[in-house]
């Protein structure tokens, strides 16, 4: 469990990126921070592994203040996947994935074996092990980034817009893979995105944020869709228009659900039918 307690981050230039933020992030679930650019999502994430120190308030992991932990050890114990993969350009794919095990003192051989294992897990062909990141496509680089995040089998996985830089088809593929992975691995995932569809697809808990990491609404995708906190949230999730605004249309074969563009999205069935 990760808990933010009244956390504020003011940068030296005066920007208040996070203003009195409180949230409990349950273990073994995926929590998604979603909000527009600059609202403080990355800052929140970075305060979990002490890349950014809060100005006031505390971040706790399982009841322990992260500020009391040694930063380097803490970071090695938390998987971090970032936008644009953040891979080391001078490490091969296998070396990149093996980074944390190597830092933790595993032998080269053991770390390489682990890397190959993880390449399989994230759906990368073993033949790519000796390539450099510049020789991979964006989608492949993101897979390597995910594999690296998982390499030391951390309980917590932080993902900062990991699929933001790839095309929609590859993104959908990576999202599906992540859902499958999460089913098997059961990590505490904190995922950042500005795409509400991605948030609803991946999140068990979704926090919709506005500037200063102000929480507009927090809940499961169903709770938010069924009961948006205000007009802004309703508009943000597209409950009025778009594909989350469905209406019933009667057809000779029974009622169906139609979106705002008139496309049929599904069939309405009775409970237990």
């Amino acid at each position: 469990m990760i808990e933010f307690r009244n956390v504020t981050k003011r940068f030296p230039d005066g920007t208040v990126a996070v203003d009195s933020f409180d949230l409990v992030i349950p273990s073994r679930k995926t929590t998604v921070f979603v909000g527009s650019s600059g609202c403080g999502k990355t800052t929140l994430l970075r305060m979990i592994n002490r890349m950014v120190e809060p100005t006031s308030g505390t971040v706790e992991i399982d009841g322990e203040d992260v500020a009391a932990k040694q930063a380097v050890a803490l970071r090695r114990s938390i998987g971090y996947v970032m936008q644009n993969s953040g891979l080391m350009p001078h490490f091969t794919v296998a070396e990149n994935i093996a980074t944390v095990p190597r830092l933790n003192g595993e032998t080269r051989r053991a770390a390489k074996a682990r890397a190959l294992e993880l390449m399989d897990v994230v759906g990368l062909d073993a033949s790519m092990a000796d390539r450099y990141p510049s020789q991979l496509s964006g989608g492949q680089q993101q897979r390597v980034g995910v594999a690296r995040g998982l390499a030391s089998d951390p309980n917590i996985l932080l993902m900062d817009e990991p699929f933001g830089a790839v095309d929609p088809i590859v993104r959908a593929e990576l999202q599906t893979e992540l859902i499958r992975l999460q089913r098997d691995l059961d990590k505490t995932v904190v995922f950042v995105t500005h795409d509400i569809d991605e948030a609803f697809l991946l999140g068990d808990q979704v926090a919709i944020l506005a500037a200063g990491a102000q929480r507009l609404q927090t809940g499961s995708p169903s709770e938010i869709t069924e009961n948006p906190a205000d007009d802004f949230v309703a508009a943000f999730i597209g409950a009025e228009r778009g594909k989350r605004a469905l209406r019933v249309k009667q057809t000779p074969h029974g009622p169906v659900l139609v979106d705002a563009e008139g496309r049929t999205q599904g069939v309405l069935v009775e409970d237990g039918a």
């Binding site: 970075r46 592994n49 890349m51 380097v72 050890a73 970071r75 090695r76 971090y80 970032m82 644009n84 953040g86 891979l87 080391m88 350009p89 001078h90 490490f91 980074t99 944390v100 830092l103 759906g123 990368l124 062909d125 390539r131 450099y132 510049s134 020789q135 991979l136 496509s137 964006g138 989608g139 492949q140 897979r143 690296r148 790839v166 088809i169 590859v170 593929e173």
Partner: protein, 223 residues
């Protein structure tokens, strides 16, 4: 040409002396420039200062340096140490800048990413910053090497023997082939060292030359 074939032994000995003096200065200059360049890169306030001072070193006339150093440091002007130290100073003048520029060229996002996955500062410097600064540092090192090897000939003017001897001796005795042999020998050594550095760079930094265009992802990756 006759002169050359009759004096191959002499040329060989002088070339070895020359190579030894230059290589020691290049290596020492490189090693000393690493901490200096790092300090200049890391501490903004010191930066202008370090870069300016080391840059100014390069403007000291070499002959003057070779005559002043022995007075200041108290060793004979004719000693090899004198030449090696002077050459090291010139090497530093070029290399500090190269190291600073090299560290500057490292993508801050990559550096942050290394920190985020758990590199401590020291370890990150050796494993990430320095290797990624490598191409720029190597470019500086190659310039340094060639200029040091050519500059070393000035040693003969204060009595330190190396390939420069072929210039002064050849000029005094009006043996043009001797002078030409000196020029060619210096050039050959410089080119060989440069080639060696380039090959070492390829070996140590294989990622730089492996930019094969990426193939399409989704199908292949899922396979």
């Amino acid at each position: 040409m006759e002169w050359v074939s009759a004096n191959l032994d002499l040329i060989g000995t002088l070339a070895l002396d020359h190579l030894r003096q230059s290589v020691i200065a290049i290596v020492a200059g490189f090693l000393l420039s690493l901490p200096l360049g790092w300090v200049a890169w890391r501490y903004r306030l010191l930066r202008g200062w370090v870069i300016t001072v080391t840059g100014l070193l390069y403007t000291i006339p070499s002959l003057a340096l070779l005559m002043i150093l022995p007075v200041v440091a108290g060793y004979p002007a004719t000693s090899e140490t004198n030449l090696v130290i002077a050459l090291t100073i010139y090497a530093i003048a070029i290399m500090v800048r190269a190291v600073t520029d090299g560290l500057d060229s490292v993508d801050p996002a990559v550096r942050r990413s290394a920190t985020a996955v758990g590199y401590g500062d020291g370890r990150r410097f050796w494993a990430v910053d320095l290797p990624l600064a490598g191409p720029v540092i190597l470019a500086g090192l190659r310039v340094t090497a060639v200029s040091t090897i050519s500059l070393a000939t000035v040693g003969i003017l204060v009595g330190v023997t190396n390939l420069g001897y072929l210039f002064t001796n050849g000029l005094q005795r009006r043996i043009i082939p001797e002078v030409l042999a000196g020029i060619v020998a210096v050039a050959v050594i410089a080119l060989l060292v440069d080639l060696l550095l380039m090959l070492a760079g390829r070996r140590l930094m294989p990622w730089v030359h492996s930019r094969v265009p990426a193939r399409r992802s989704s199908v292949e990756a899922a396979a």
